[in-house]
């Protein structure tokens, strides 16, 4: 590889880092989250913080489980890594978690670059890297970072790395060394996102079976691939056994299926996915058909066919009702893979231009078109970034969160009456009953206050999250494979899609609300006065937020 290629790759990597991190106005010294993110990023951040503080990745923060010391069935590979970076650098966990997510986003693009470069050549590889890094692509990736799909990034990155090593092994002769490293990578993918990992299985199976059919590979390759999967399962068994148990807590395996069903509700997270998804599937289908017409059998052809099978499987899973959300999710996660058709199209155009004019003219034309491409999309991308940034980081909110963290007992129960769903319960490190100004249950509470009535019971949502667990149960390990299941006493599901509760104020030690700056402020002012009249104290107040001790 020549020096100019190294320089181009280095510059693109630097641009990739910049595009992902600069719009967040990351401040590595501040002990608060850098940008607005969604639930997932908050949870990953808080889990990183919990591991950093407790030095334990196996158990849940007690404030997430109503004080019960419970095992965490959360995918822990990625928060462990960002916790390690936190310990190593001294940079706050709220920052390292986000930096790590940005890195993962970049790594997936870099891995696709490796695949394309290896099987389609240096130029195609650099075009892939360019397409994956410049703003229009980064915008799509940035959206995923905002939503917080770092476990998906992680699963995809580790699975892809494993598949690349497997392909190299099939070419050069698969050894036990390959099996061991692929096993480690796949165990990482399983522990980053087990459900996600199994969506890569058809791709993996496609590669191995096609190789066996067309290259007359011996059964040893199949056995060694099987051994790699076995190593992955053995390394992950400690985590996977707990996940299975958590499924069974509710008394039936059907609980697992219903958990999958809840993901369908997340469909609204994706911005208009249908048309791009259909378009992409058509391109992939066409690519697969064209691959069948290749005269010479090659690894390129096999990879394309395997890629085709992978997307066909994912696409048809929508129609067989396997999990419609995951179909879309995979299309987004597989975004970097989808760069391949675009790269092939560009390479085709370049070869056509090369046939007509000199290489020098082609090179200049490509550079000019590249600049036009970047400049066309950059303003749109950055306006989206800046909109995202403005939504979190309100100092008044953050000061209230910090006050709770610094001034209340660790087992205090806080009712976030007019908060936004995630921020208070995630960052205050207390057991929180969540309100959300954007959701009906909180608006019902506020409407009653506007009618000058204090509800007998307030509506809200317990800030517990036991990933893959039936709501309200905590799991602790008695022996290696023996688990104890305990109902969290506060969890009282009673209304609206099984996640909301109705609780009296007497259940809480503190109530936190926004008393000014919004149209419902008069209602909150009235509530505050009523609390004072009932001999409760306003223990904290700033220009927006107030906290009353009950």
């Amino acid at each position: 590889m020549n020096k100019s290629t190294v320089i181009i790759i280095s510059i693109l990597v630097l641009i990739g880092l910049f595009v992902r991190l600069a719009p967040t106005h990351l401040n590595v010294s501040e002990n608060m989250p850098p940008v607005i993110t969604s639930w997932d990023v908050f949870w990953h951040t808080t889990f990183t913080k919990w591991i950093v503080d407790s030095h334990n990745s196996d158990i849940m923060p007690s404030y997430k489980t109503g004080g019960i010391p419970a095992l965490s069935p959360e995918p822990r590979i990625l928060p462990i890594n960002s916790a390690a970076l936190t310990w190593f650098t001294g940079i706050p966990a709220y920052q390292t978690a986000f930096i790590f997510t940005a890195l993962m986003s970049l790594i997936v693009v870099l891995l696709i670059f490796v695949v394309v470069r290896r099987y389609f050549g240096e130029t195609a590889g650099i075009i892939t890297l360019f397409l994956g890094i410049v703003p229009v692509s980064a915008q799509t990736w940035f959206f995923q970072m905002m939503v917080g799909f770092w476990r998906d990034f992680g699963a995809m990155a580790m699975a892809l790395a494993g598949i690349i090593i497997l392909l190299q092994g099939l070419e050069a002769g698969l050894s036990w060394k390959h099996s061991a490293v692929i096993g480690i990578l796949f165990s990482g993918a399983l522990m980053a996102h087990a459900q996600e990992f199994f969506f890569y299985a058809p791709f993996l199976g496609g590669v191995v079976v096609l190789w066996m059919l067309f290259k007359k590979t011996t059964w040893h390759s199949l056995i060694k691939t099987g051994v790699a999967l076995l190593i992955a399962i053995v390394l992950s068994i400690n985590f996977l056994s707990m996940m299975n148990t958590s499924y069974q807590v509710g008394g039936s395996l059907a609980q697992g299926l219903s958990t999958l069903g809840t993901f369908q509700q997340m469909q609204s997270y994706f911005p208009s996915p249908s048309l791009p998804a259909i378009f992409t599937i058509l391109i992939i289908a066409g690519l697969g058909i064209s691959a069948l017409n290749f005269k010479k059998l090659s690894i390129t052809k096999l990879s394309i066919l395997a890629l085709w099978f992978f997307f066909l499987f994912v696409s048809f899973s929508r129609f067989i009702g396997l999990n419609s959300n995951y179909t879309t999710r995979q299309i987004y996660m597989g975004y970097a893979l989808l760069l391949l058709p675009a790269v092939i199209a560009i390479m085709f155009i370049i070869s056509l231009i090369n046939a007509k004019v000199s290489k020098k003219v082609t090179g200049i034309a490509i550079i000019i078109l590249g600049f036009v491409y970047v400049l066309s999309f950059a303003p749109t991308s950055y306006s989206q970034f800046s909109n995202l940034k403005s939504s979190f980081g309100d100092k008044a909110h953050w000061d209230a969160i910090i006050w709770i963290k610094d001034n209340t007992p660790k087992d205090a129960k806080v009712f976030a009456l007019s908060g936004y769903e995630h921020e208070f319960y995630t960052f205050s490190e207390r057991t929180v009953f969540k309100g959300d100004l954007g959701l009906q249950h909180t608006q019902t509470n506020i409407q009653q206050l506007c009618n000058q009535q204090i509800p007998e019971k307030f509506r809200g949502e317990w800030g517990y999250w036991l990933y893959n667990n039936p709501k309200g149960y905590a799991v602790s390990r008695i022996g290696y494979s023996d688990f104890n299941h305990e109902m969290i006493s506060d969890f009282n599901v009673s209304i609206e899609n099984d996640t909301k509760s109705q609780e009296p104020l007497s259940k809480f030690n503190y109530v936190l609300f926004q008393h000014s700056g919004e149209q419902w402020s008069p209602c909150m002012q009235w509530f505050k006065q009523q609390m004072i009249n009932n001999n409760h104290h306003v223990v904290y107040e700033n220009e927006e937020m107030a906290i009353v001790k009950l």
Partner: protein, 135 residues
Amino acid sequence: MKMKKWQLLSCKFLPILTAFGILIIGAFLGAFIESVPFTPLLSLAFGIAFLYILPGYSIMLLFDFDAVERLIIGIPLSIAIIGVGNSWLNTIFGSINAFTSVLLVVLCVAFSIIWQLKSSQSKASTIRENEHQSL
């Protein structure tokens, strides 16, 4: 012979030094463009290189990939090693910390060096045997 050794060393260490160099330039640019303090960015660059590049890259030296591929594939491998290793250490010893991560990195590098020395010795003995037979 000395030249060959140096070439071998630079071939193995140059990619990782280049990656570290890119991270340092990134830290400089971050400090310059975004007005972020340089010292934490520098420790971040070092942390990323040590935790996420070094262990995976060391293991990837055992495989027949080129430098760029080793560096890039080595990152998810490092993440898997640090994550899976710490997860098991957590289950066995009840806690994890900076030391356990450093231990995993050192083990990976040591394993890679030992394996490479072993395989180069066996290669050398095979060459000697072949030479002996040809004589």
